[in-house]
């Protein structure tokens, strides 16, 4: 039997012998991973929502008076290849303005269309806020461009809010990870405390600290893995239930898809995080019993 197999057998034996301690440790890690996953999915949904809003807008390049509209349009087409690019002449702009004012459009009687600048409109459908901004930046190079409106000014606040939530999410995750590590460590410490005689005897018959520690670390790792896998399964279950109940009501039907809310990378990170959490907590719990000779 290899050393690793021996340690794994010892860890599994210990989990079988103390099912209550194992259950509490797994449940603690389950809660931590589930809450973290839920927060990550909510942030992901928020970002997708914001991107959806951005996708409906157009980027407008306002031209200086006397600018060559055709040259500007061609330049915009070259920059935004594949996108719909439209020239809006002053007369068209005035007509739109009148229409938008409705009954008050009469107020514009006598105002010459030339007071409004010609513009080039580029459709930005399907782009995220960041991508729209990048496109607007590139369109500033259109010859004769005076100003570029990415149409997302109102989204600035929302984007800042989301960035704040992102930071808060990270802080929450860090705090949660630390809190859970302490909680799981205390839980595992109960198990280690119950086995302090075993640790003492192992050391007295010549076990090195690594030999004593290994089964505990494997036990923590397995408990972490188990808790994390159960938590990710629960997250997938919640997502499926949510999609079945409210998915049809949403404009963006893909918003509740597994790939959008719980992408594979996130699930892998949650499982890995849970395992590492169990491992660290276990290391913390057993270390104090190894200090004595």
């Amino acid at each position: 039997m290899t050393r690793l197999a021996y340690f794994v057998r010892r860890a599994l034996e210990s989990m079988r012998r103390r099912p209550h301690v194992t259950l509490v440790a797994v449940a603690t890690i389950w809660v931590a991973v589930f809450v973290t996953g839920l927060a990550a999915a909510a942030l992901s949904a928020g970002e997708r929502l914001l991107a959806g809003f951005a996708g409906d807008v157009q980027v407008a390049v306002y031209l200086q008076k006397g600018a060559d509209v055709v040259a500007a349009r061609d330049a915009a087409r070259a920059i935004a290849a594949g996108r719909k690019v439209e020239v809006v002449r002053p007369a068209d702009a005035m007509a739109r303005l009148r229409a938008s004012l409705g009954d008050d459009g009469a107020l514009l009687e006598g105002v010459e269309a030339e007071v409004l600048p010609a513009s080039i409109e580029v459709n930005a459908a399907g782009l995220t806020v960041t991508q729209v901004r990048a496109l607007a930046d590139r369109l500033k190079k259109v010859p004769g461009a005076k100003d570029v409106d990415d149409g997302n000014a109102w989204l600035d606040g929302a984007e800042q809010l989301l960035a704040g939530l992102h930071a808060a999410g990270l802080a929450l995750f860090a705090g949660l990870a630390l809190g859970t590590a302490i909680l799981v460590s205390n839980t595992l410490r109960l198990g280690v405390f119950a086995r302090r005689d075993e640790i003492e005897i192992m050391k007295l018959v010549g076990a090195t600290n690594a030999f004593v520690q290994a089964p505990f670390l494997i036990e923590g790792l397995l408990q972490g893995l188990l808790g994390a896998i159960l938590a990710t399964l629960a997250l997938l279950g919640v997502r499926a239930a949510l999609a079945a109940r409210v998915g049809a009501l949403l404009h963006d039907s893909a918003a509740l898809s597994r790939a959008a809310l719980l992408p594979g990378r996130l699930l892998a990170a949650l499982v890995l995080g849970g395992a590492v959490l169990g491992l660290l907590a276990s290391a913390l719990a057993v270390s104090r019993h190894l200090r004595r000779p």
């Binding site: 005689d197 192992m202 050391k203 007295l204 018959v205 010549g206 090195t208 600290n209 030999f211 000779p293």
Partner: protein, 228 residues
């Protein structure tokens, strides 16, 4: 094998030292009884030899190593050459007899087959083979004591430290255990046995070191000294 030079052990909290300026030498292959009243320092001396405690002052050489100054990470390797019988047995109640005895061999990384072979052999020699799958709480005090002896001897240690190894045994079992320890000594194991049992000292006629208040009061074979 064992050399102590002016060893003093003073526990925190003051009071008289558990060991007071002790100097002694035990040769390789020797069989030594430590005796003396409770609190004389016998168990403390064994703990120092086991590296479970450090002396307050003085030097202790075991296998030529100064255990008073040895690095913590080296202690396990020293202990692997030791077999220890504890006064309170120190058996794991949730492990079977065989698993308890197998511990020192597993720590050394021996294969499962070799471990099983050696464990069965030592259990057989102590008439414990029928109890291999029992848990310690299901055994009598004497049986637990013999399991503790089996665990100490299973690895063929170079040095055996035994703290009252026959304290819970009847006369017949005492002889069984002592014969086994004696046999280990005959195979080359150096033996240090702490005991109150005067009949043991008289029966085996080995070197007897008497301690009192942490000091050696006499040292020599019982037959030569007449008393212990």
């Amino acid at each position: 094998m064992i050399q102590l030079f002016h060893v003093t052990k003073q526990y925190a909290g003051g009071g008289a030292p558990a060991l007071d300026d002790l100097t002694l030498h035990v040769k390789k292959g020797e069989f030594v009884f430590l005796t003396g009243p409770s609190g004389a320092g016998k168990s403390t001396l064994l703990k120092l030899l086991l590296c479970a405690e450090s002396p307050t002052s003085g030097q202790i050489l075991v296998f030529g190593r100064n255990v008073a100054k040895v690095q913590g990470s080296r202690i396990p390797y020293i202990r692997r050459n030791l077999g220890v019988v504890f006064q309170d047995f120190k058996l794991l109640s949730d492990r079977t007899v065989a698993e308890n005895v197998a511990f020192p061999l597993e720590v050394r990384g021996l294969g499962a087959r070799e471990v099983r072979k050696r464990v069965l052999a030592i259990l057989r020699s102590l008439s414990l083979d029928t109890k291999a799958d029992r848990f310690p709480p299901a055994l009598s005090g004497g049986e637990q004591q013999r399991v503790s002896v089996a665990r100490a001897l299973v690895g063929d240690p170079a040095l055996l430290l035994a703290d009252e190894p026959t304290g819970n045994l009847d006369a017949e079992r005492t002889l069984d255990v002592m014969d086994l320890i004696h046999a280990a000594n005959a195979r080359g194991t150096t033996v240090v046995v702490a005991t109150h049992d005067r009949t043991l000292l008289e029966r085996y006629r080995k070197r007897v070191i008497s301690l009192e208040n942490g000091r050696i009061t006499s040292d020599g074979e019982l037959s030569r000294r007449g008393t212990a």
